[in-house]
């Protein structure tokens, strides 16, 4: 029979925050992964709103061919900072700093992250890095304006002399180190702080995905940091690593940047894959279909991700097209396995269409569109045709908007665990429809624009009737996404401490639903025996507890199903 045993307070017992500082001093001095994770979440959502505001201005400018909302120079700053804020300051830190920080230690039954003070340092580097990058708007010459990829020679001191570019580099150095420290912390936590019985193949998929993400961070981010130092040296110390004038190679920057940049795509995506896996399983009232297949698919994506970087550089004429094309196309296989498993998890389940589940289904559809168009772009002949057009912009916006849907799903799903209170479901569902339909109205016209030849990164475009109305539709979609963001803020204000959640509002599977909402300091007063990847479900439903992988319950007549 299942029995719960007390697990004595870990860690020599000191550091109970009940007696610790309060208010701002608590925020400054905390080493609790939940408080740090919440700081990450709030900061990342603020960054999403800032980046989203830039996007609305960009779409406003493009709603007419000769838009006059901003000047050409301001437009360059806006699209650069929109991309930078969204990728470096929102998507990444939200993926591996925010929910991961709060949920991963609880999912594996750990009292905290392995290195709590390093965790706090990660947050401070992220916050100061964000401030550094954004402060470019307040210096003479304005913020960085060379695109979020900072291609040489556009990023050289000749083409971009202002200090906005240096602040961009400095901000990225700080957030880069923040990511590396978080990667170290996540690996160590998963390897060393699991609860008894929590073997590697019993970890929730979300934790598995974060482990692979952390390994990818450690593989990729140091390369970016090294590249940034070289770029700074080129700008200020007279080196010529990326400038032809002194014998350097501008394409080397692209190699270094994308060697980080493509694993980064999976660093962003894998945590959200994990979130929707958890959400779909819980709201279908079924275990994850193909649990081990899911893990091997994640590991395969991680393995392949180091060999695909130059598919961003097909048109440079300096890369081995067949190698990168084959490797990029191969990524479709594990991703397809995941897609199949998500549908398999829902298959014949008792689906509860909560806001979180709707967001997860919206993720699947939107990610499918983004993923399939990615397969086109992995083929060099098609890429030559669409490179640097709105087709590429539409492709990656389908992908990242799918991640936003996943992020919202994660916030609706885990929010009650973090705060102790549910969000309003009705407002949540209205938010979902604005976000989901807005995303499609926003991205689908951009695919057509790309196929009709509209290049990216232009502030004005020729009077061309078929470009005009497609741009108008994209702007309408962007406004709908803006409305959905406002609805999210409205929902937080409206639901503030209104709907107490209880410990386990969704009848969850994993350990975070075993502890209280919000969890106590060091997370657990007791732990259930861990006999499968669904310990909380096994404890709450002993008649339906999970069997070993590959074993099935005998049917009533004694035969094995």
């Amino acid at each position: 029979m299942t029995e719960v045993l007390e697990r004595p307070a870990p860690a020599g017992g000191h550091g109970h925050e009940e007696h610790g500082p309060t208010g701002i001093l608590k925020w400054l001095t905390t080493t609790d992964h939940k408080v740090i994770g919440l700081s990450y979440t709030v900061t990342a959502v603020v960054m999403m709103v800032i980046g989203g505001a830039f996007a609305e201005i960009i779409r406003g400018q493009l709603s007419s061919p000769n838009g006059t909302l901003v000047s050409l120079a301001q437009y360059n700053e806006l699209f650069t900072m929109h991309g930078s804020v969204m990728i470096y300051l929102f998507a990444g830190p939200f993926a591996f700093g925010a929910l991961a920080n709060i949920i991963v230690p609880i999912q594996i039954g750990a009292p905290d992250m392995a290195f709590p003070r390093l965790n706090a340092l990660s947050y401070w580097l992220y916050l100061t890095g964000s401030i550094t990058m954004l402060s470019g708007f307040f210096v003479a010459g304005g913020a960085a304006n060379f695109g979020w990829v900072a291609y040489a020679p556009l990023s050289s001191s000749v083409a971009t002399p202002g200090s906005g570019a240096d602040l961009w580099i400095g901000g990225l150095l700080l957030t880069g180190f923040s990511a590396i420290f978080t990667g170290v912390n996540l690996c160590a936590t998963v390897f060393y702080l699991r609860a008894p019985g929590m073997t590697m193949f019993r970890m929730p998929i979300f934790t598995w995905n974060l482990l692979v993400t952390a390994i990818l961070i450690l593989l990729a981010f140091p390369v970016l940091t090294a590249g940034l130092i070289m770029l700074y040296a080129d700008r200020h110390f007279g080196t010529h690593i990326f400038s032809v004038a002194g014998g350097g190679v501008p394409v080397l920057w692209q190699n270094i940047f994308w060697f980080w940049g493509h694993p980064e795509v999976y660093i962003l995506a894998l945590p959200f894959f994990g979130m929707v896996t958890e959400i779909i399983a819980v709201f279908s009232k079924k275990p994850v279909f193909g649990y081990k297949g899911m893990i091997f698919a994640t590991l395969t994506i991680g393995a392949l991700s180091l060999g695909v970087w130059a598919h961003h550089m097909f048109t440079t004429g300096t890369v081995l097209l067949p190698f990168f094309s084959i490797m990029s196309l191969l990524i479709a296989v594990p991703t397809g396995i995941k897609m199949f498993n998500w549908i398999g998890t829902m298959w014949r389940g008792q689906i509860w269409f909560s806001t979180a589940m709707l967001m997860a289904i919206g993720f699947l559809i939107t990610f499918l569109v983004g993923g399939l168009t990615g397969i086109y772009l992995a083929s060099p002949p098609l890429d030559f045709f669409t490179h640097d057009t709105y087709f590429v912009v539409a492709h990656f916006h389908s992908v990242v908007m799918a991640l936003v849907l996943g992020a919202m799903g994660g916030l609706y799903y885990w929010g009650p665990k973090i705060t102790g209170y549910l969000l309003n479901e009705r407002i949540g569902k209205i938010q979902f429809w604005f976000l989901f339909i807005g995303t499609q109205v926003f991205t689908l016209p951009m695919y057509l624009l790309g196929l009709r030849g509209m290049p990216r990164r232009m502030a004005i475009y020729p009077q061309h009737p078929s470009w005009q109305y497609l741009n108008d539709w994209a702007t309408v979609g962007a406004l709908m996404i803006g409305v959905s963001t406002i609805l999210f803020v409205v929902n937080i204000v409206y639901s503030w401490k209104r709907y107490p959640a209880g410990d386990n509002p969704w009848d969850g599977h994993t350990l975070e639903w075993f502890t209280s909402s919000p969890p106590p300091h060091h997370n657990f007063y007791r732990l259930p025996p861990i006999r499968s990847e669904r310990p909380t479900w096994d404890y709450n439903h002993p008649e339906h507890r999970a069997l070993e992988h590959g074993h099935h319950e005998p049917a009533v007549d004694g035969s094995v199903k």
Partner: protein
């Protein structure tokens, strides 16, 4: 410990094979070197874990039949509150601002960083604040 080792060694082996193919096919230096670095980054901890996994008894978290009580006792040392991560973060901030606003900022940056490192080390020795 064995699964952890296998994950890292498996990734490292894949990178090694991929790098061999890439290197001989493309003759391109930058990517080849970066994948070698990735391979080593997987093999270094992977081999360490593999070495240990053959010498230690399975930990409770590696035992599929472990009871929660087996994890009782001291898990590790977790500091309570600490001001030093914030101090170190601000020191790094000042150092990065020195890249933009002038080398003189390195002086307060290094001083603050030194203070934070000394403070954090002292705190570790004392076992954190209660």
């Amino acid at each position: 410990m064995r699964t952890e080792a296998r994950v890292l060694l498996g990734l490292g082996t894949f990178f090694a094979i991929m790098d061999a193919v890439y290197w001989f096919w493309s003759k391109e230096d930058a990517g080849g070197v970066m994948i070698i670095a990735g391979t080593l980054l997987c093999f270094l901890p992977g081999l360490y874990y593999f070495w240990w996994s053959r010498r230690m008894r399975p930990r409770p978290e590696d035992d599929p039949h472990a009871e929660p009580a087996q994890g009782a006792g001291v898990v590790g040392t977790f500091p309570g509150t600490s001001i030093w991560p914030f101090t170190l973060g601000m020191a790094s901030f000042v150092m990065v601002l020195a890249l933009v606003f002038g080398v003189w900022l390195v002086v307060p940056g290094v001083a603050l960083m030194f203070w934070a490192v000394v403070g954090a080390t002292g705190e570790s020795r004392r076992g954190g604040q209660h």
